[in-house]
């Protein structure tokens, strides 16, 4: 009897505990109108926003810190901390005027002292910052008043305004860092942004609380919890179970499923990221006919339909629609017949194929390896036999440096500014580590464009270069990449063409 009672009590206790756990777990899932939880794919590398160029972390940094200039949803450069700017015609200096109503989260006013510190002093001080590379042309920043200063460059910096709204360019507090110490800043970062960092746990979560004294439009939601969920399947499960209200970068097939089943708003948005084949100018690709044939043989629309639900726009140049360097009237056709003709000129055919190598990552970006396999098949049909090799993204630079990449490599390139210098300029610059294309002709054209100060001339130059590079087989743009977003129906956000999902634009409707 005693034993039975004990067993019964134990069972009751166990069931009661399970019910309590289950109930409180469900309560924990419920969202309030002033809070939102986002399933985010990656953590920030550090809380020094100048330190690492990590595209995925930029929306988080933009919540806590402010950039001197900003971009509107269509990527047009707009004033932000800088009210006015004037790039000199020779691009050797840029005068700026800051707002006078901006304060850091601790109440200190933001002035040109902070601006000079961010873009000059701390770079020269030897702290390892990625911005040291983007602002290496800065010779000095002459302060004229708390709101006015002039940046002096040692060589033309025509894209300085674009870089003011790009990776790593966030104004940090001089007085706070120097007074409290750098390590303290990393632990308790403050910026001038619409949110304050309330809590941070490495590789786990970031909690943001609204900055009620923000100088600009106040964030609509008071508390944003960013849960770092690296596994795409776990992100899908998290949104489906209601543990997060919104998530990004889920597989395209899951977006299609969400749309079929209803219940959530699921979108596939094209962004300013291109998927391309980086090619060599030698080996079997020394033959221009082979390069052009390889490009004509790729059915980009079919790749988009198969792997991105048709949302990824086929590209003919290294720029995305809507950006300054895009050529809407230029099209590089999918024409397997022409590909065969070109190969025939070089004595190749499906019976006597030209042998090349194709390198691709597996999992670096959505469907990368599947795209590579499909290309191998498309090439086989016209007389190109490709040996597909899987490489780690981390190995790309080392293989390129040692000249060990094969004829073609599948690659993805992100450019939030949309500026053509950061598209084709970087991808074809022989002095940069990205492109395996090493060629005097195109290299010289690119290097010249890096020094063109006039905006219109620069853009026109890049448009010519893009067309020239594609027509000569120096690059093979494939598709505009996509960002997938799944959210609760009553959670709205502002769509940016570069894929930013900014916490400060979220609101419950």
């Amino acid at each position: 009897m005693v034993l039975k009672l004990q067993r019964r009590s134990f069972l009751q206790l166990a069931l009661g505990t399970a019910a309590t756990i289950g109930t409180s777990a469900r309560i924990a899932f419920a969202a309030t109108n002033d809070a939102v939880t986002i399933g985010w794919p990656n953590d920030v590398p550090s809380w020094d926003p100048n330190q690492r160029f990590t595209p995925d972390a930029q929306p988080v940094f933009k919540a806590v810190f402010d950039q001197p200039l900003d971009q509107d949803p269509k990527l047009k450069l707009i004033p932000h901390l800088i009210k006015n700017w004037n790039l000199a015609p020779d691009a050797l200096s840029m005068a700026i005027e800051l707002r006078d109503d901006v304060t850091f989260h601790n109440g200190d006013p933001m002035t040109t002292e902070d601006f000079r510190y961010t873009f000059f002093e701390r770079i020269k001080s030897g702290i390892k910052l990625d911005t040291a590379n983007s602002w290496k042309k800065v010779d000095d920043i002459v302060i004229e008043s708390p709101t006015k200063a002039t940046m002096k460059f040692n060589s033309p910096a025509p894209t300085a305004p674009q870089w003011m709204a790009f990776l790593g360019s966030y104004v940090v507090p001089k007085k706070y860092i120097e007074g409290q110490g750098y390590d303290n800043f990393l632990k308790n970062p403050i910026g001038t942004g619409p949110y304050k960092l309330a809590e941070y746990e490495l590789n786990s979560r970031i909690v943001l609380e609204r900055n009620d004294k923000y100088w600009g439009p106040k964030a609509k939601i008071g508390r944003v919890t960013i849960e770092i969920v690296k596994d795409p399947s776990a992100r899908v499960a998290a949104i489906q179970s209601g543990q997060v209200d919104c998530t990004l970068n889920v597989p395209v097939r899951e977006v299609e499923r969400f749309n079929k089943e209803g219940g959530f708003a699921a979108e596939i948005d094209p962004i300013t990221r291109v998927i391309l084949l980086n090619v060599r100018a030698d080996l079997a690709f020394a033959d221009k006919n082979v390069r052009l044939a390889a490009h004509h043989a790729i059915d980009k629309a079919a790749l988009s339909k198969a792997f991105y639900g048709g949302a990824a726009v086929p590209l003919s140049v290294l720029a995305t629609p809507g950006t300054p360097g895009y050529l809407p009237d230029f099209s590089f056709k999918y024409d397997p017949g022409l590909a065969k003709e070109l190969l025939a000129k070089s004595n190749f055919s499906p019976a006597n194929p030209v042998k090349i190598g194709l390198a691709a990552t597996n999992g670096q970006f959505p469907s990368d390896y599947d795209i590579a396999r499909a290309i191998v098949q498309m090439w086989k049909n016209v007389g190109i036999e490709a040996d597909l090799q899987v490489i780690e993204y981390a190995k790309y630079f080392e293989l390129n440096r040692g000249g060990k990449l094969p004829e073609a490599t599948l690659y993805s390139w992100d450019n939030a500014t949309g500026d053509p210098e950061i598209f084709s300029g970087y991808q074809l610059n022989p002095k940069m580590p990205f492109s395996p294309w090493k060629d005097e002709d195109i290299g010289q054209k690119v290097l010249t464009l890096f020094g063109v100060a006039d905006y219109d001339k620069r853009i026109a130059g890049y448009r010519d270069l893009e067309r020239y590079a594609v027509e000569n087989g120096a690059t093979m743009p494939l598709l505009q990449s996509v960002l997938t977003v799944v959210r609760k129906h009553n959670l709205a956000y502002t769509k940016y063409d570069n894929g930013w999902v900014l916490p400060q634009t979220l609101q419950w409707t």
């Binding site: 998290a238 190995k395 002095k431």
Partner: protein, 338 residues
């Protein structure tokens, strides 16, 4: 007995020195021979080839491999395991921040695996010779064939998505704070008196712990059953029966104790494997442990961080082996005879 155990630990500590040296040298050489360029990875994408070369020189990557290793070893002996390329922080501090999470998860999973393993082993043994034996045998083989990450996904789908009964992202609910005292969340929650955090942390532990525990318990089950079979052929079991002891008493008081020795050895080995098995589980359940950090490190070719984590895994395995051997001495009187 304490003296024997102390002597064993001292011997193990001495033996750990050459083992760690060999492992660190192997790790260092393998990582440096990989075709990755830590210099390029540590610079922004717009760095020129000349800047990357300068960085390679600064990082000492252009020096002979033995020289690079000796520099690293000297720094490591002074507590400096290098700076993480990705996080720009001391690799040692990153490991220290994430290790408690993994230890907590792995320990809880091992306890569960032990409970399931021992009770399952006893059940399998109990069913010997019955019609249910082949069914139980098949079930244990089926359990054995499911790896931890698959359990992770199955449990996440059933209890997280379908039933929505348990949370599966992170360590606590989004609206609760994470206390920082020792790094062990359950302990910290109790130390700061936050029982709501403790309860939430327990809820968040259930699925990952079950995923790991279920994956590692079948081996313990099967080894325990085999050991019991062996033990039951010993004379003292027959003598116990002749003395009129009940089957239950023979099993629990005599056979289990002797059969547990090989099981304990296996559990020690399993704990080492389970510790590294947390890698995928931490990623699936968004646990901020060392496995999760390792995934980042590998993805970014963060060689100093990979080296620090690899070495930590090695130390953990050595510690586990020492603990198991010490327990072996405690449980087996034969080993205490000089």
């Amino acid at each position: 007995m304490i003296a024997i155990v102390a002597k064993l630990i001292a011997r193990r500590l001495l033996a750990a020195v050459p083992i760690l040296l060999v492992v660190s040298a192997l790790l260092f050489c393998i990582l440096r021979l990989l075709p990755v360029d830590p210099a390029a990875m540590s610079l922004p994408p717009n760095a020129t080839i000349e800047e990357i070369e300068a960085k390679r020189h600064e990082m000492g990557l252009d020096r002979p491999l033995p020289e690079q290793y000796l520099i690293w070893l000297n720094d490591a002996l002074h507590g400096d395991f290098g700076r993480s390329i990705q996080f720009r922080r001391e690799a040692g501090s990153l490991v220290a921040a994430t290790l408690p999470v993994t230890i907590e998860l792995a320990t809880a999973a091992m306890v569960l695996a032990g409970i399931f393993g021992v009770s399952g082993g006893l059940l399998l043994f109990h069913l010997r010779g019955t019609l249910l034996e082949p069914v139980a045998d098949l079930a244990s083989i089926l359990l054995l064939s499911i790896p931890e990450f698959l359990w992770g996904l199955i449990l996440l789908f059933v209890f997280g998505v379908l039933l929505q009964a348990l949370p599966f992202t992170g360590q606590v609910a989004p609206d609760l704070p994470l206390p920082h005292v020792t790094g062990f969340l359950l302990l910290d929650a109790l130390l700061v008196g936050r029982f709501d955090v403790f309860l939430s942390a327990c809820q968040h532990l259930i699925l990952p712990v079950f995923a790991l525990g279920l994956a590692f318990s079948p081996t313990i089950m099967r080894v325990l059953r085999s050991s019991l079979f062996d033990v039951y052929h010993e004379d003292y079991i027959q003598q116990a029966r002749l003395r009129g002891l009940s089957e239950q008493r023979i099993l629990l008081k005599h056979a289990l104790k002797n059969a547990s020795l090989p099981t304990l050895t296996l559990a020690g080995v399993q704990f080492g494997i389970l510790f590294s098995g947390t890698l995928l589980i931490e990623v699936i359940y968004s646990f901020p442990g060392m496995g999760n950090l390792m995934v980042d490190a590998v993805r970014n070719a963060d060689l100093p961080l990979i080296q620090a984590i690899g070495l930590t895994y090695c130390i953990v395995v050595l510690v586990i082996n020492t603990v198991v051997d010490s327990l072996y001495v405690v449980l087996n009187p034969k080993l205490r005879v000089r």
